[in-house]
């Protein structure tokens, strides 16, 4: 039985959604595990001061107006800092300080994994009273960090490891952000969503500039981005090609769900930056091809070759394949009338052509780099869910669903627009809306019903 179409639709969407889900899930677990005896900010210790609450430190006793005003100021300062730093990074990239950016990002990754990750590990060890001595712990942490830094920025490392470290970076930073006070968190999230919208879509927005710059230089986006590529090269190009038409998917143009800057602790920044120079040397020989195929120049050449129209690559291939098959069919029927011998020859010929066709499909695959999602999106989705986890499981689930559906909407838009899109606005808007709806409307309803053992 031929494989049904269901198996091939939406592979890319799931490829992006599953790491996001994993990241959110782990952040929620972390928040749950550590919140009863929160070792970072026990009630006695002063609340931490980060770039996100430089101006105002929330106090439970403050009035609502005070909290709102302070949170707004915090968010404003935070967004301004992020915008300034992003502009600086774009300027650095513009003047081709690529190596500096690369090393700076390495340093940030090291810093995040070692210090922030380290303190989270320490608190986990304390909380669960895991018997580990200091030297072992240090060695483990050091190894974890070094492998992380290597995997994020150099080739020759399995993509799965890279993805793992991307997700863990997201988890670590998000776990720190959940320690912001409540009002500030919500306002900062909304402000960031708006900023993301402006920075990616408005003319002159820093992230838009960055994307355009990177694509005009035929370079990879210099940023920490999660790349949802298949871990193993798919066996048949055919099924992979299928994914692209329907339900969002690969693109030959530099399209990515846009990344978002991230600010770390106390003014120190681990913004998306640096250069992502690896594009999977992990798939052995084929990866070479993959890398070559990526430059738009090559893609243009092929486009001209395969079809004269300027339609996107995938449709060009789709159109050309059935034609060729039809052609085979014709020739087949002609040759059958002649002699079996010729037919054998033709079969060889056909195989050759089929191989060529496969080649085409492979090329197409190389172009289809998969969807890329900025690390910042991971972080702020998780921050939202982590903040929801401090209230109730119900809000967590509602926020998760809202964020994932927002992400799905963004991906579908992506397949329509075929350009870099901000991933935060739709998801954050839906997430915040569902959080408050759930908290204000649904919770009393559901609790009231189900404590009476009524369900429907």
């Amino acid at each position: 039985m031929e494989s049904s179409i269901l198996e091939s639709i939406g592979v890319e969407i799931i490829g992006v959604m599953s790491p996001v889900s994993i990241c959110m899930f782990l952040v929620v677990l972390l928040v749950y595990a550590l919140s009863p005896a929160n070792p970072f900010s026990t009630p006695s210790s002063p609340p931490i001061r980060t770039a996100a609450n430089l101006v105002y430190l929330e106090n439970p006793s403050d009035s609502t107006a005070q909290k709102l005003e302070g949170a707004l100021l915090n968010a404003l300062v935070f967004v301004v800092i992020i915008a300034v730093v992003t502009f600086v990074l774009v300027a650095l990239y513009y003047f081709k300080f690529t190596n500096f950016l690369k090393n700076y990002t390495r340093f940030s990754a090291f810093f995040v994994l070692a210090t922030m990750g380290g303190s989270i590990f320490l608190s986990i060890i304390q909380h669960f009273s895991i018997p580990v001595d200091a030297i072992t712990c240090f060695l483990l942490l050091f190894n974890f960090t070094v492998v992380g830094v290597l995997s994020v920025f150099s080739g020759g490392i399995p993509i799965i490891l890279r993805q793992f470290y991307m997700v863990s970076l997201g988890i670590i930073v998000a776990a720190w952000f959940t320690k912001l006070p409540e009002w500030t968190t919500w306002i900062v999230l909304v402000a960031l969503a708006v900023y993301d919208l402006v920075a990616v879509l408005a003319p002159g927005g820093p992230l838009k500039l960055l994307v355009e710059l990177a694509s005009s230089r035929d370079e990879e986006l210099p940023a920490l981005v999660y790349e949802a590529r298949p871990v193993a090269p798919p066996q048949n190009g055919g099924s992979h090609r299928t994914n692209m038409g329907l339900l969002a998917a690969g693109f030959s143009q530099p399209g990515s769900v846009e990344m978002q800057s991230v600010s770390g602790n106390s003014g120190w920044r681990n913004d998306v930056d640096g250069s992502r120079d690896t594009l999977g040397n992990d798939e052995g020989g084929s990866s070479r091809d993959g890398r070559e195929e990526i430059s738009p120049l090559v893609s243009n050449a092929r486009q001209r070759r395969s079809s004269s129209s300027d339609s996107p690559e995938y449709s060009a291939v789709n159109v050309s394949t059935p034609n060729r098959v039809g052609h085979f069919g014709d020739r087949d029927s002609q040759i059958e009338e002649t002699s079996p011998l010729v037919e054998a020859v033709h079969a060889g010929n056909q195989r050759e052509q089929a191989a060529m066709e496969d080649d085409d499909a492979d090329d197409n695959l190389g172009l289809n780099r998969g969807i890329r999602l900025g690390l910042g999106d991971f972080i702020f989705y998780s921050v939202l869910v982590g903040r929801a986890a401090m209230y109730d499981l119900m809000t967590v689930y509602a926020c998760y669903l809202a964020i994932v559906s927002g992400l799905g909407c963004t991906l579908i838009l992506l397949s329509v627009c075929r350009r870099a899109l901000p991933a935060l606005p739709i998801s954050i808007a839906l997430g915040v809306m569902f959080y408050f709806l759930t908290r204000l409307l649904m919770e009393p309803f559901v609790v009231g019903i189900s404590t009476n053992l009524l369900m429907f």
Binding site: S4, V11, L246, S405, G408, L437, T451, L453
Partner: protein
């Protein structure tokens, strides 16, 4: 130990759906998306209902008739939603078929359609279990348990997990029956599903009586069993018919 108990309650409520998810759904990305979207739809319906009823809450827990009104309106709304879901699914099916033609792949098989219906139902069921049972389970992981007066034989968490399991089953398979009924134009199935849903909802009213849960839960499982049997019979009939048609066409 308490963590173990909490996990046990979760698995009672969601274990069967989890295995269904792993064995059938998770292999096909499209079905995962269906589950997610139907869960979202159910969540939205719940929010709308709670928005409508918010003004009247909290209901006094002594009289049962406002609750019956609540259940009837909610079930009615959700059945309307099922029709809406069916409309969307019909459009989707056309799109998928057209897409399959374009990719020169086979159109949706009967099993594919049933799986989509199953995924939609699973989404509804999982959403139900999560919001009505799982969200209240957080204290179960703590160092105590909780009994309510009306059902003093079992911990509250166990009762709600059991009820949630029966509703997950009802939701999951009634979607398959309903979709099949709509596509065949079978009036009996179209009526059967809302009726069973409504009856199951009303059966939970038995829990208002003292120790009523000892009667209510078996009744609920009877409904779940009814749905399961009906769904199994229908799926068997469709599949054998389909196979017969395939063989005769060859």
């Amino acid at each position: 130990m308490t963590v173990v108990a909490g996990i046990g309650y979760v698995l009672i409520a969601l274990g069967p759906s989890l295995s269904l998810f792993v064995s059938v759904i998770s292999k096909k990305p499209f079905l995962i998306l269906t589950v997610l979207s139907s869960t979202l739809l159910w969540l939205i319906s719940l929010i709308v209902m709670s928005g409508l009823w918010r003004a009247f809450l909290p209901l006094s827990s002594s009289s049962w008739w406002p609750y019956s009104l609540l259940i009837i309106t909610s079930v009615g709304f959700q059945e309307g939603l099922r029709l809406f879901f069916w409309r969307i699914y019909r459009k989707l099916e056309d799109i998928l078929d057209a897409f399959a033609d374009r990719m020169s792949k086979p159109r949706l098989f009967l099993t594919d359609k049933m799986q989509i219906a199953l995924a939609g139902g699973l989404g509804h069921g999982v959403a139900h279990a999560v919001f009505f049972c799982l969200s209240l389970l957080t204290p179960a992981f703590g160092p105590a348990t909780f009994y309510i007066e009306r059902c003093s034989k079992m911990p509250f968490f166990l009762v709600s997990a059991l009820i949630a399991l029966s509703f997950v089953t009802i939701h999951t398979f009634s979607m398959v029956i309903a979709f099949n009924g709509y596509s065949e134009g079978n009036k009996v199935d179209q009526v059967f599903v809302p009726v069973v849903h409504l009856v199951a909802g009303l059966v939970t009213l038995v829990n208002f009586a003292h120790e009523g849960c000892l009667v209510g839960i078996p009744l609920l499982y009877l409904m779940a069993l009814l749905i399961l049997l009906h769904c199994g019979k229908m799926a068997w009939r469709r599949l054998t018919e389909n196979r017969g048609r395939l063989e005769s066409s060859q």
